[in-house]
Amino acid sequence: MSFWEVILQQIINGLILGSFYALIALGYSMVYGIIKLLNFAHGDIYMTGAFACLSVFGVLSGLIPGWPGIILSIVAAMIFSGCIGYLAQRFAYRPLLGAPRLSLLITAIGVSLIIYNSVMVVTNSQPLFFTSGIDNAAGIQIGNITITYIQIILISVSALLMIGLTLFIGRTMTGKAMRAISLDKETCKLMGINVNKIIGLTFIIGSALAAIAGGLACVYYGNVQYNMGYTIGIKAFTAAVIGGIGSIPGAMLGGLLLGLLEAIGTQFLGSSWKDVFAFGLLILILILRPNGLLGKSEIERM
């Protein structure tokens, strides 16, 4: 492989990894934007999405094999994880909305541990394997650069989802309500917006996006284990902060950037140093732009 081929291949690798980070980072960012909560359970919601997709496809694959079955399974996973996200919001977070923010944060850690440990017990900490019957290796070869079809599908799906979400937040009444709540919850109540309903919806959308990421990971990587949400959850959270937490385009940018930095770091410094490299640069970005790349600087009124 020539130098430029290596660079190009690593950029592709980074974009794929980055789109996973971005999809999950969206959920972090949306929830933070609307109720200022760092939803640490979000990585685990992603993991439940992957498990739901795998289980549903296990049942469906006999009847509807191939992509239609996978799409149905991912839809089922979205519903399942959306429900978990909603339930967490309804029973763990909503009662604490008026409480100090630290209590809410601890609750989020609690929810994360509950999901993580339940799945660990149910699956006996053994990995499950996904066999879709789809040829993951099929793809295009340009010189020494390999791009598989499934990678193209992955990047396109996440791009479409991000555009869709941006339009939803920017153009619809519900989106407008979400933005309004993030500015001033109390005034929104006075204006007749059903704040609880909108917050619930935010959790459902965020969780469903994580479930899509989980389902895609299930198809792309082929194995699902209880701890799969941990590292990626932290990375996605980082991506959200780098992009400017609360900002939807920021979450996408942060995710892709982190993926790219990791891939480039692996190539030039080795995989043991990739996180040091990526996070070192990210700290630098935060020093220069404390609110993240696309975050707005907030003026706190005293």
């Binding site: 492989m1 290596v6 291949q9 690593q10 690798n13 980074g14 794929i16 990894l17 996973f20 900490s125 053994q126 990995p127 394997f129 066999t131 993951n136 290796a137 793809g139 070869q141 020494n144 390999t146 598989t148 990971a217 990587y221 082929g222 194995n223 284990q225 701890n227 799969m228 941990y230 590292t231 990626i232 990791e262 891939a263 692996t266 190539q267 080795g270 995989s271 043991s272 990739k274």
Partner: protein, 375 residues
């Protein structure tokens, strides 16, 4: 008044102790009691159960054939939970039961803290499952390690690389003590045989994307990749190596020795090698027969180290029969010089009481099953 009560209690306790001691001795005249330390609870319980099953199978066979020196063998099992604290309690339990020998030990961190107490009691200890070289470094001369240490895996790997004509090796580990140690041994040993280590990569557990590592490995020109990690993430590595355009040889370490690896890898798994522990069904004819017996009796497959557990009991049996005594020193000296032909191959010991010969075998995934290859 209260002094009197205490006296009475004390005397009665001594009496109870004497009676139980005598009765214990009486019932044990015709049995040889073997203490077993195995994890029966906690995360490793599945493996502990398998250990005990194997010992029991061997003991039952020996008893059915008339026992040893006219005596029956009997197991006394204590749960070490694969945990240093629980293991020392289990050791105390086994010692107070008055066992003649001790076998077992899953996980070096659990067995090492117990070794002093067995040494003090003059109890022979055969460690069948743990394989850290730290065990023999403790220097207790009545403790033998049956399982091959990681260096032996690399010996097997070296033979494989030689037979494949490998030149450049890339290593991938998972950053934890076990897999990193294996990778370090490779980095130290393989260059001595003329192989160049061109990349050492780390894959975080549960972070499945290794495409960047794959590209780095392709760029390094490696023609052999050794995966030092566990089977949970192993299938990801193998699939992404193949999907990412890597065409050289792939070999996985013993952490990946599981049939799950085959199902999870699918097509990409074909031709992948494995430096495997001596899984009984692949080692020899006796191993195959043992596997059948085990499946018949316990309704599931024996574990990866089953052959070692089974051999451990038979080593003990041979030593008792040949020396004609239960004397620890005599049996220890006999085992030191033993050349035992068992399910896991030939077992001999170095002066440090480690196995001299590697018990690792090389398997290759062929048509969806493991197949033994002799490089």
């Amino acid at each position: 008044m209260s002094k009197k009560i205490i006296k009475i209690i004390a005397i009665s306790m001594v009496l109870v102790l004497c009676v139980s001691f005598i009765s214990g001795c009486q019932s044990r005249e015709d049995t040889i009691l073997i203490g077993v330390l195995a994890p029966l609870s906690g995360s490793e319980a599945v493996y502990g159960k398998d250990m005990v099953n194997c010992y029991q199978l061997a003991v039952d066979e020996i008893n059915a054939a008339g026992g040893v020196l006219g005596k029956k063998l009997k197991l006394y099992t204590a749960d070490d939970g694969c945990d240093p604290n629980m293991a020392t309690q289990a050791a105390a339990k086994v010692i107070s039961k008055g066992v003649d020998f001790v076998v077992g030990g899953y996980g070096s961190s659990a067995i090492i803290p117990t070794m002093q107490s067995f040494y003090d009691e003059g109890l022979l200890l055969l460690i069948s499952n743990a394989n850290s070289t730290d065990i023999t470094k403790q220097g207790f001369n009545q403790s033998f390690m049956i399982n091959s240490p990681g260096t032996h895996a690399v010996q097997a790997l070296t033979e494989l690389c030689k037979s494949l004509g490998t030149k450049k090796v890339a290593l991938i580990h998972q950053g934890d003590a076990y897999t990193k140690n294996l990778s370090d041994i490779c980095s130290a040993e393989l260059p001595k045989s003329g192989f160049e280590i061109v990349a050492v990569e780390v894959m975080d557990k549960g972070a499945p994307d290794v495409s960047a590592i794959v590209t780095a490995i392709r760029n390094s020109g490696a023609d052999f990749v050794y995966w030092c990690g566990y089977h949970a993430d192993g299938s990801n590595v193998i699939k992404q190596l193949r999907n990412g355009g890597y065409t050289g040889e792939i070999c996985a370490g013993d952490g990946s020795a599981s049939v799950d690896l085959i199902t999870a890898c699918g097509e990409s798994g074909e031709g992948v090698y494995l430096t495997s522990p001596p899984i009984a069904e692949f080692t020899n004819e006796a191993g195959k027969k043992f596997t059948e017996d085990y499946e018949k009796k316990f309704k599931n497959k024996p574990g990866n180290y089953a052959s070692l557990n089974y051999d451990t009991i038979y080593i003990l049996k041979e030593a008792i029969e040949q020396t004609g005594t239960l004397e620890m020193e005599a049996i220890r000296d006999y085992i030191q010089g033993i050349e035992f032909n068992g399910l896991s191959g030939v077992i001999k010991f170095t002066p440090d009481r480690e196995p001299e010969l590697s018990n690792f075998i090389i398997l290759k995934i062929t048509n969806g099953t493991f197949e033994l290859v002799n490089p």
